[in-house]
């Protein structure tokens, strides 16, 4: 059976569940890999296929990934049913998920982060239910070259569970705030996932052999009469269907009083930082019982608190440099060589405020929701509520480039404040060559800006408006005046459909866009 078969086939495949292997270890949910013959339907029997992946792959008119080239649109809907560690309860869960309407998403299914690994072969998503779903890119096949680039479910596991802090009477959500892949060090893959308080290091590995042959049991698992044991038997490893397992290797906890908003792995492959509202902590990847606080902006008196840290990231090459952004719209660059404590920054990036646009909302909308170094390490990109800015590391007083993401919302800040949307934290990403940047907006729109041609495009990730394998159509929002055909008026934008999380393949024009509980993967059109 081929990967891109019809939806119905897919359902057949998994509802039967016969081909599906389900295994479990103490803390790992083993899932038969998509690479096996059973195809992508080979997810745990506990899950209906339909809520996993809709192989509706469709083609249509064109639209650019970098604004000029074309993208094929596919979407995948990793809406995992309740993952349960209890084998016994799995059968019940199947029934539940069968009853579930695909279009209905529970809060737990909302995707909260999405991240390609450093080769682009794997793509991970985390959701509010604490689950991590890893997709693997289909290997090149001569018979179906167009299959290359399709991402199928590779592994899925429960990364975080809801917890309760009894000392502080505080509920700790299981929501995955960030996922960061580690560079590959052996045949297995490693990622860090974090919720508000705890970072975990996960290993995702394959197993294709199984030991066979017992001394005290016969082939059917019956205990042998010990008197019949006349010779010793050493188990032999036999090939078996590929199994992918995820194991929690390390748990980095008890170091954050406030909510962790970001994690970043250092280029020295030895350390990482975790950042909460007021502090940045440095960890050794191998040591879980202590971390070093390197930035602390907590004032002695909390009433004097005027700004919080919103995000932090290591420089991609210089292992001693990291940047963190603040709610006041500034970015600080710190050099860990200078001192053990990095409370003093070495560079401070801030754009002077324009007095003419000053309003009640100025401070809120200037808060930076994401900061990202470019791959070459020369630039910093920041996202605030209305714009994306690119900063040159050598120029602290103003951004090199400023792109308007949805300037048409400037007039609607009041209502956006009332419905809390003004506090949404949009992320931003670079493409592999740092020439294009992408960030999300409302109404399932996302924006791309080509830094060289200065062209920009608005695209939409939605099931209703894009057909499988369709080429995306640019969208336009009309600002006042007459609305032309194909244009959407500002007033009809749906603010509940927001695209906060996106990621770009490190080398190719493949992007993944998380729209509430749906994951859309777009790529250049394959000829």
């Amino acid at each position: 059976m081929t990967k891109c078969s019809k939806d119905a086939l897919r359902c057949d495949n998994s509802c039967g569940g016969d081909n599906c292997v389900k295994q479990r270890t103490k803390c790992a949910l083993l899932i038969k890999s998509a690479a096996s013959t059973a195809g992508i339907g080979a997810v745990p029997a506990s899950r209906t296929v339909s809520c996993w992946m809709r192989p509706e792959v469709w083609t249509g008119p064109a639209s650019p990934p970098s604004p000029s080239s074309s993208l094929i649109c596919r979407y995948q809907d990793p809406e995992p049913a309740d993952l349960s560690m209890e084998e016994e309860s799995d059968t019940r869960k199947i029934n539940n998920s069968f009853l579930r309407d695909h279009n209905y998403a529970t809060e737990a299914d909302i995707i909260s982060t999405v991240e390609f690994n450093s080769s682009g072969e794997l793509l991970a998503t985390g959701d509010k239910g604490g689950r991590v779903v890893v997709f693997q890119r289909e290997q090149e096949s001569k018979s179906q070259p167009q299959r290359r680039g399709e991402y199928n479910v590779y592994s899925t596991f429960q990364s975080h569970e809801p917890e309760f802090d009894y000392l502080k009477s505080l509920e700790i959500e299981e929501k995955i705030n960030k996922i960061k892949w580690l560079p590959q060090q052996n045949a297995a893959y490693f990622l860090l996932s974090t919720n508000d308080k705890t970072v975990k290091l996960w290993k995702i590995s394959e197993r294709d052999k199984r030991p066979e042959g017992y001394n005290l049991k016969d082939e059917d698992g019956r205990i042998k009469d010990p008197s019949t044991i006349t010779s010793l038997r050493v188990p032999v490893l036999q090939p078996m269907d590929l199994m992918v397992e995820a194991t929690a290797r390390r748990v980095f906890s008890n170091a954050h009083t406030y909510h962790i908003n970001s994690i970043s792995v250092n280029s020295d492959l030895q350390t990482f930082i975790s950042t909460d509202d007021l502090r940045v902590n440095l960890w050794n990847l191998e040591i879980t019982d202590r971390s070093f606080n390197i930035v602390d902006i907590k004032p002695a008196n909390m009433e004097e608190l005027t700004e919080v840290i919103t995000s932090a990231e290591f420089h991609p090459q210089q292992c001693h440099t990291f940047a963190y952004s603040s709610s006041k719209g500034s970015i600080r660059l710190c050099d860990m060589r200078q001192a053990a404590l990095c409370d003093k920054h070495c560079k401070y990036f801030e754009e002077p405020e324009d007095p003419s646009t000053r309003s009640f909302f100025s401070e809120i909308i200037s808060s930076i929701s994401d900061v990202k170094f470019s791959h070459n390490g020369r630039y910093l990109m920041t996202r605030d509520y209305l714009t994306v800015k690119v900063w040159d590391l050598q120029m602290e007083n103003k951004p090199l480039e400023t792109y308007q993401v949805h300037d048409y919302l400037r007039g609607k800040l009041c209502s956006l404040y009332e419905n809390d949307c003004i506090f949404d934290k949009f992320e931003c990403v670079w493409n592999g060559s740092d020439s294009v940047i992408m960030t999300g907006s409302y109404n399932n729109f996302f924006r791309m800006f080509d830094r060289n041609t200065k062209r920009d495009v608005t695209l939409e990730a939605s099931r209703e408006n894009s057909k499988p394998r369709a080429i995306l159509k640019p969208r336009k929002v009309c600002v006042g005046g007459k609305r032309r055909k194909d244009e959407i008026s500002v007033d009809s934008l749906d603010f509940s459909k927001k695209i906060l999380h996106t990621t770009w393949h490190p080398h190719e024009n493949i992007i993944a866009v998380a729209a509430t509980n749906n994951l859309y993967i777009f790529q250049d059109k394959v000829n």
Binding site: K209, D225, P226, S227, L232, V234, L237, S267, D268, Q338
Partner: protein, 613 residues
């Protein structure tokens, strides 16, 4: 019926089978039991399994199976890696030792550092058991495979293996090994460069001197100027080994430029490493370079802008000064080091001050009496008044060095207020720390000074509100009695301790009992007068205490006092009290009273008989 059955059930039935095979069969099956503990257990008995299988089957069946068992938990893999290092005889001796390479090779590529390191350790071990031919045919190819592996885990493991095979291979292979090492030193991933940097010194040691000069120095220079400070700091360690290998006249040109650069590195972590390794570096480069280069470098480290570096350097002050060439040691210290030390005494960072305080007293032996009194004493006194308790504690804990040189009297005027302040510190851990130094201080200050100034403090700790302090104070009493003798105890301690028996607070009354326990213990039989005449009556009286905790501690104390009492006292005084306590309303009191009655001293037949009737 045999749905599930453990070894126990089967064992009973196995009367006819080969009994010796059964336990081995269980061990083999448990190699893949779901329970990690059982797997671990089996792996730890791997030699038993191998012995039962024989060398042939171990080679052809067990080892291939183990080679693919790298999916397991770290602790199992760690145990496996360790076992395989001792497996040579079990596979048939040195002739077959190469059979152990495949499983160790796969263990050397896992992501867990401890497992990899253990696998490398075992590989190094069995490399010695290879014949020179086998080393080139089997071992060296493995090193090459690891060194050119796709993943950096295997390349990092390779770094630790070059030095063990280099001395025993032909010159062509040696050239290859040097080439591999060179490649790894400029690896793309910092992990591998770090591994290479940390093995550089070790590799240099086995290389011919010419190659050290031609190859190692250039690698060393490159690693020491790596873009990542995590690599550069490891080059400092290599610097020590390389400097020891080179003749003195080459050091200046080959090593010193790099070392100077490291001491002034932009990254504090590298400078920290230099400070931390300073004594080793000093020994490695010899007295002449020390005088010309290291003294100014050390001054800079003591004045570094990063507190971590200053603290590391401060820690080395004494060792550095000790190792200075004797001919002008005093002059160097007085003109170059002491001014920096003086500044550190008032450092802004308490870790720096406390690091200095832990070594500064050691300087007095080097500088002698006059210099100590003139220059060091003011520093000691300043540190004794430091706001940070750790600094004061560190000074007090090292008083013995000063005592030898100038006698402690010089210090006692400042010492006393410092001790009193620490003794009354709000943090109980600080109080605990000073209590632990009391016996030492008492020894140095003498009994007179102690009675006059410190005795009250020691007694005050007995009624501290923190149990750990009262406990430590009790223990302190014991050490003081050991030091000053029983007579002293009788005159100064016992009256005060016994006075507490009437304290309204039951916790203090219990402290009396605890103190009596230790005093009896160290006064012992020769001074039993004190026990029978003074302490026993008090203890017996306390058996009427209204708090059960006191009563059962009376029982416990009586059990401890018993051995030093004569039988008359036991029979007429102790026994009736214990009998009364044994019928106490409180369960615990009863229990401990009975314990005491059945205890050694009272269990003579007469007493037991009487109790029974």
């Amino acid at each position: 019926a045999a749905e599930e059955g453990g070894p126990c059930q089967s064992k009973m039935a196995g009367a006819d089978g080969d009994d010796s095979l059964y336990p081995i069969a269980v061990l083999i099956d448990e190699l893949r039991n779901e329970d990690v503990q059982l797997r671990l257990n089996s792996i730890k008995k791997l030699s038993t399994i191998a012995l039962a299988l024989g060398v042939e089957r171990t080679r052809t069946e067990l080892l291939p199976f183990l080679t693919d068992t790298i999916y397991d938990e770290d602790e199992v893999l760690l145990a496996l890696a360790e076992q395989l290092g001792n497996f040579t005889m079990l596979v048939g001796g040195p002739e077959y030792v190469h059979c152990l390479l495949p499983p160790l090779e796969s263990l050397a590529t896992v992501e867990e550092t401890v497992v990899r390191d253990k696998a490398v350790e075992s590989l190094r071990k069995i490399s010695q058991e290879h014949s020179p031919v086998d080393l080139e045919v089997h071992f060296e190819p493995l090193v090459k495979r690891l060194a050119s592996g796709d993943w950096f885990t295997s390349r990092t493991s390779a770094c630790g293996l070059f030095s063990v095979c280099y001395p025993r291979v032909s010159s062509t292979v040696k050239a290859e090994i040097r080439q591999h090492f060179r490649t790894l030193c400029s690896d793309d991933t910092p992990m591998v460069r770090r591994a290479a940097a940390s093995k550089l010194g070790e590799f240099a040691k086995v290389l011919e001197l010419d190659y050290v000069k031609s190859d190692i120095i250039s690698l060393f220079t490159a690693l020491a100027s790596d873009e990542q400070d995590s690599v550069r700091l490891l080059a400092v360690e290599a610097c020590v080994s390389i400097a020891t290998l080179l003749p003195q006249e080459d050091l200046e040109t080959l090593v010193m430029p790099t070392l100077r650069q490291a001491a002034e590195d932009k990254s504090w972590r590298v400078r920290y490493m230099v400070a931390d390794k300073f004594s080793e570096l000093q020994k490695a480069v010899g007295p002449e370079i020390t005088k010309n280069d290291l003294v100014p470098a050390f001054q800079n480290l003591l004045k570094d802008c990063e507190a971590e570096v200053r603290a590391a350097a401060a820690n080395k002050v004494k060792e550095f000064c000790e190792n200075l060439p004797e001919d002008n040691r005093e002059q160097i210290i007085m003109t170059h080091i002491l001014p920096c030390v003086k500044e550190l005494v008032s450092d802004t960072n308490q870790h720096v001050k406390s690091a200095l305080a832990s070594v500064i007293m050691g300087l007095s032996t080097i500088l002698g009496k006059d210099n100590t009194i003139e220059h060091l004493l003011p520093l000691f006194l300043a540190q004794l008044k430091d706001e940070c308790p750790e600094v004061r504690l560190n000074i007090i804990s090292n008083l013995d060095c000063v005592n030898e040189v100038i006698g402690i009297r010089q210090l006692s005027q400042s010492l006393l207020p410092a001790i009193v302040e620490l003794a009354e510190d709000a943090k109980w851990r600080v109080r605990l720390a000073i209590i632990e130094y009391m016996p030492l201080l008492a020894g140095q200050l003498g009994v007179e000074f102690f009675d006059e100034k410190l005795n009250t403090l020691c007694m005050a700790w007995l009624i501290d509100h923190v149990y750990a302090i009262r406990e430590a104070a009790t223990c302190n009493l014991m050490k003081l009695v050991e030091k000053f003798g029983a007579e002293w105890a009788q005159n100064t301690i016992v009256p005060k301790v016994l006075g507490m028996a009437n304290d309204p607070n039951y916790l203090h009354r219990m402290t009396t009992l605890f103190c009596i326990n230790v005093i009896v213990h160290c006064c012992g039989y020769p001074y039993r007068e004190i026990t029978t005449k003074q302490m026993l009556p008090v203890v017996l009286k306390m058996s009427n205490d209204q708090v059960a905790n006191v009563r059962f501690n009376v029982a416990k104390s009586l059990q401890k006092i018993g051995p030093v009492l004569d039988s008359n006292a036991l029979q007429t005084e102790v026994k009736p009290v214990l009998e009364k306590l044994a019928s106490d309303t409180d369960m615990d009191v009863k229990y401990f009273a009975q314990e005491a009655i059945s205890g050694e001293c009272l269990s003579s037949s007469t007493i037991v008989d009487k109790l029974n009737t």
